[in-house]
């Protein structure tokens, strides 16, 4: 489902960096209300793109168009889960979620959605890495839910890293639910076996450039899997998802 006129349009985006530019002349129109996957090998520019889309970093060239009726404040436009979290204060998990400006019961709902309600009262610094990540994911979802679906974007940078399959499934379901509600949803992930069946569209980055944007089977061709990721494999589309079939590494086992 695409809502007309509310897409996020990126034009000629460049971001300088060392030793090479992080983004080079990237142009793409990201539709709202779809499950969008941002894919690419390490160092392709995924986090840089999310930083620019989130307003953390000012691009050296290019423009962003947020569509009609876009909000003035960045905090009203998007919720962003960056790749790393800096929190060390001994809040409980529920208190961390409440930092999004929601009440205690709403915070519990968000923890429950991700399946970690049992940890609500535990001090955040004592939780395992994966659980801490889920707590932040719940916080960002809480912030996103406070935005209007026709204006809000959710950017998630590797929320699946360090999660077991059950929790990864919970996160993907939660993100998919927001896309269905009309939010713009862009997820960066390396877990292609989990994320490709979830994705409706894939934006593939390579060396800071937008290489392809389309459905998983058109973007993740066996050739690209081999050249970008060094694996032999293919994506088989099926009704209601599909699956990534891997036969091993190129020139290896």
């Amino acid at each position: 489902m695409t809502i007309e006129g509310a897409a996020l349009t990126v034009q000629g985006l460049s971001l300088s960096g060392l030793p090479q530019p992080r983004l080079r002349d990237l142009s793409v129109t990201l539709p709202r209300g779809q499950r969008l996957l941002l894919a690419g090998p390490n160092g392709a520019g995924k986090s840089s793109l999310l930083d620019v889309l989130s307003g953390d970093v000012t691009p050296s060239a290019g423009t962003l168009h947020w569509g009609a009726g876009a909000r003035e404040r960045w905090a009203d436009r998007r919720a962003y889960l960056p790749q790393r979290n800096a929190l060390a204060h001994p809040f409980s998990a529920a208190q961390v979620v409440a930092l999004a400006g929601v009440g205690a019961s709403e915070a519990l709902d968000h923890l429950e959605e991700l399946g970690i309600k049992d940890w609500a009262e535990h001090p955040y610094p004592t939780l395992s890495g994966g659980l801490r990540r889920l707590v932040h994911c719940a916080r960002v979802l809480a912030q996103l839910d406070r935005l209007a679906p026709e204006h809000g974007w959710g950017f998630f940078d590797e929320p699946l890293a360090n999660l077991d399959w059950r929790f990864a499934g919970r996160v993907l379901t939660a993100l998919g639910r927001r896309a269905e509600a009309g939010y713009g949803m862009l997820l960066a992930a390396h877990e292609l076996n989990l994320a490709l069946p979830w994705a409706e569209q894939v934006l593939l980055l390579k060396a800071g450039q937008g290489e392809a944007f389309g459905t998983p089977e058109t973007v993740l061709t066996p050739e690209r899997l081999a050249t970008h990721w060094g694996v032999r494999g293919r994506f088989e589309a099926e009704p209601g998802g599909g699956r990534l079939v891997l036969d091993g590494f190129v020139g290896g086992p």
Partner: protein, 334 residues
């Protein structure tokens, strides 16, 4: 959850009132409230000695604890203390400079105002230097800030020592008084600067709780929630500097109060900053009233400088906290 434990302001307020009452009545000459009317010697003790002193202890304790709570939140470090950041050292140097110029006995009337002004300028300069030196690019590097604070404090200490050598007898005595904070010279003018500032600060910061909580996420993620991180940092550090400087100006250096009080509050009321600043003000006032009472009673009729007493209590507390944090850090890695 922390909310269930309440703000604790009522209990802290009650403890404060009890401590204030005790500070008025107890001392080398104990006063009995019911005998005040009949005892003509009691009124001057109460009115000219105990009351201004208790008021000063209240305001200085509240200011130092509030400044400590703000600094710990803003530096995201439970070991931050006004004394460790060069604020106190800078204030002492500023005050010592004015005193050595012959402002003479601290106790005399309006001398407190230029001295307080100089202490504030000194503190501001020191903290600006510490923050400038403790930067990594555009962001504060927290361990860098603490190390720069230690260095600036040492330099200020050397400066104070130099001024002491150059000062005459009167100046020397008042500077020495500075280095061991004391409330012994309290008179009705000394609480004045803080009496004006502290209520304004409490009013200005009354809705900072949520912001200080969000700030703990780190500059970047706090900003994602719409928090104006830089502004909070600037105003917060300015307020903490102002309060510390004014406290040092009228009472000298009283260390570790700003460290201990917020730590105790975290243990008692949980990690949220929602009511932290008024909590800190009440608890700091209570603690300094009691510490000053102890300083007056322990060796009565002689008395200890209260700054020495808080250092005696605070030093071991700081080390205990440090060990606890370090062993916890190891536990995290394992």
């Amino acid at each position: 959850m922390a909310q269930a434990r309440g703000s604790g302001l009522r209990a802290l307020g009650l403890a404060f009132l009890l401590a204030f009452g005790a500070a008025l009545l107890l001392g080398p000459v104990p006063l009995r409230p019911w005998a005040l009317a009949e005892d003509p010697a009691a009124w001057p003790i109460l009115w000219e000695l105990r009351l201004p002193r208790a008021l000063l202890a209240t305001l200085v304790g509240a200011a130092l604890a509030l400044a400590g709570a703000l600094l710990q939140a803003l530096l995201r470090n439970p070991l931050a203390d006004p004394a460790l950041l060069g604020v106190s050292g800078g204030a002492a140097l500023g005050a010592a400079a004015v005193l050595s110029l012959g402002a003479g006995a601290l106790a005399s009337g309006f001398a407190v105002l230029p001295v307080a002004g100089a202490a504030f300028l000194g503190a501001l300069l020191a903290v600006a230097l510490v923050l400038y030196l403790g930067r990594r690019g555009a962001q504060l590097d927290l361990s860098g800030v603490l190390l720069a604070g230690v260095a600036i404090n040492t330099l200020c200490g050397a400066g104070v020592g130099l001024l002491m050598m150059l000062a005459g007898d009167g100046g020397l005595r008042s500077i020495t008084f500075w280095l061991f904070g004391s409330l012994a010279n309290a008179h009705w003018l000394s609480p004045l600067p803080l009496l004006i500032t502290l209520p304004l600060v409490l009013l200005l910061t009354r809705s900072w709780g949520q912001a200080l909580d969000q700030y703990q996420l780190g500059d970047r993620e706090a900003g994602h929630h719409g928090l104006a991180v830089g502004r909070l940092q600037r105003y917060g550090l300015l307020i903490a500097t102002l309060l510390t400087a004014l406290a040092v100006a009228v009472a000298g250096i009283i260390g570790f109060l700003g460290l201990m009080v917020p730590q105790g509050l975290v243990r008692a009321f949980g990690p949220s900053h929602r009511h932290r600043l008024p909590q800190a003000a009440l608890a700091g006032a209570t603690l300094l009233l009691l510490a000053d009472l102890l300083a007056r009673l322990l060796l009565a009729p002689a008395e200890l400088p209260v700054g020495m007493l808080t250092a005696l209590l605070g030093g071991p507390f700081f080390l205990w906290l440090l060990r606890r944090q370090l062993s916890r850090g190891l536990g995290d890695g394992a």
